[in-house]
């Protein structure tokens, strides 16, 4: 394969253009070049010169790469709206999940009250199903966002920024502790989530939640595994792409 096509393909892989697009484009350009070479040879040029003329006729590879990237981005909503993809979507993930969980938890609390268990209406009892829903929701959205980020690759800075928002989400929304009230946790156990204090202040306006622990303070309860999840998912996607790209290079 001519150096031109190799370099073009490397540039496209570096920009995470879908491999199917790369395969098709390279095949078309090679076919086009062969046709041009043939016509130059028919004009009496030797093969080497005909090849150089054909490559020149195809145009600058940087422009072709630029067009292909633009075309790929324009074909997806997320690509056409990078601010939404890289900023709003991860942020929405961060801010929308807690209220969903809160509502879900309130329903569970209500269920516990109706079943006659002695529990505050706001204290939240978590079950295995609830964890499954929360982490499942988080994982699904994270996988989707990571896929969109890779498919609309705009440089490592954008990737780190976007993934970090989701990682912070996973890290600090330690769902259980962020919603448990201080009176229902062991003092100093670190079971106050990042939002406990805010919730506590609001809830206390409307509902008496009992004595405040002397050492009450909003502690962080980071969930390291959830914080690492977006990075791990993105790295898996990127490695998978590179593995497939390598296979493609080997077959040519």
């Amino acid at each position: 394969m001519h150096k031109y096509f190799k370099e073009l393909r490397t540039l496209l892989i570096r920009n995470y253009v879908p491999l199917s697009t790369i395969r098709k484009t390279i095949a078309e350009l090679r076919d086009h070049a062969e046709e041009l070479i043939q016509s130059y040879k028919n004009e009496g040029h030797p093969r080497e010169i005909a090849e150089n003329l054909a490559i020149e006729k195809l145009g600058e590879k940087e422009i072709i790469v630029e067009r292909l990237i633009a075309e790929n981005r324009n074909s997806h909503f997320a690509g056409r709206h990078p601010i939404f993809n890289f900023l709003i979507l991860p942020f929405a993930l961060m801010t929308l999940i807690p209220p969903i969980i809160m509502v879900l938890s309130l329903f569970i609390s209500l269920g516990l009250i109706l079943s006659g268990k002695p529990i505050s209406p706001i204290v939240l009892g978590f079950t295995g199903i609830e964890y499954f829903c929360i982490y499942g929701l988080f994982l699904l959205i994270t996988i989707r966002v990571c896929f969109l980020i890779l498919n609309n690759f705009r440089g490592i800075r954008w990737v780190l920024y976007s993934i970090s928002i989701m990682a912070l989400n996973g890290l600090f929304f330690y769902w259980k502790t962020s919603l448990v009230l201080p009176s229902d946790t062991e003092s100093g156990s670190g079971q106050y989530g990042i939002f406990n204090y805010g919730y506590y202040l609001i809830i206390n306006k409307f509902y008496s939640i009992g004595p405040i622990p002397a050492d009450f303070s909003p502690n962080f309860s980071p969930n390291l595994y959830m914080g690492m999840t977006p990075f791990i998912i993105f790295i898996i996607f990127a490695l998978w792409y590179q593995l497939q790209a390598r296979k493609m290079l080997e077959t040519d």
């Binding site: 078309e28 086009h32 020149e56 195809l58 145009g59 600058e60 422009i63 072709i64 067009r67 075309e71």
Partner: protein, 113 residues
């Protein structure tokens, strides 16, 4: 290296390619030859640049393609779809309107010169 004519990029490739493919099914090299011969080489561009446009038109459903093996090489033939024909009419009308407007300005400029 052949530089791309910037004027050629503002929606014109779409119109030109749709128009050419409205006559018959073709592959990239053929399309490039038709553009050059029928425009009397006035449209200057790197021929490789037609492929992103072809892919874009295909993704939008304006073109369909089929693959064929020719001399051991993969070749993709493109043809216009019904949606593409509608798009061609819309683009042609738009182009007509713009070119008439530009011509009026140029004629006016010339008459004042």
């Amino acid at each position: 290296m052949k530089k791309t004519n910037p004027d050629y990029q503002n929606g014109v490739p779409e119109l030109v390619i749709l128009k050419i493919l409205s006559r018959s099914e073709m592959y990239g090299y053929e399309i490039a030859r038709v553009i050059i011969t029928q425009s009397a080489s006035h449209l200057s561009y790197g021929e490789g640049c037609i492929y992103p446009t072809l892919h874009s038109l295909q993704r939008k459903g304006h073109l369909s393609s089929r693959r064929e093996k020719v001399n051991g090489r993969e070749r993709y033939y493109y043809k216009i779809t019904a949606k593409g024909k509608k798009r061609l009419i819309a683009l042609s009308n738009e182009w007509e309107r713009i070119s008439q407007g530009v011509n009026l300005i140029l004629e006016n400029k010339l008459s004042h010169a």
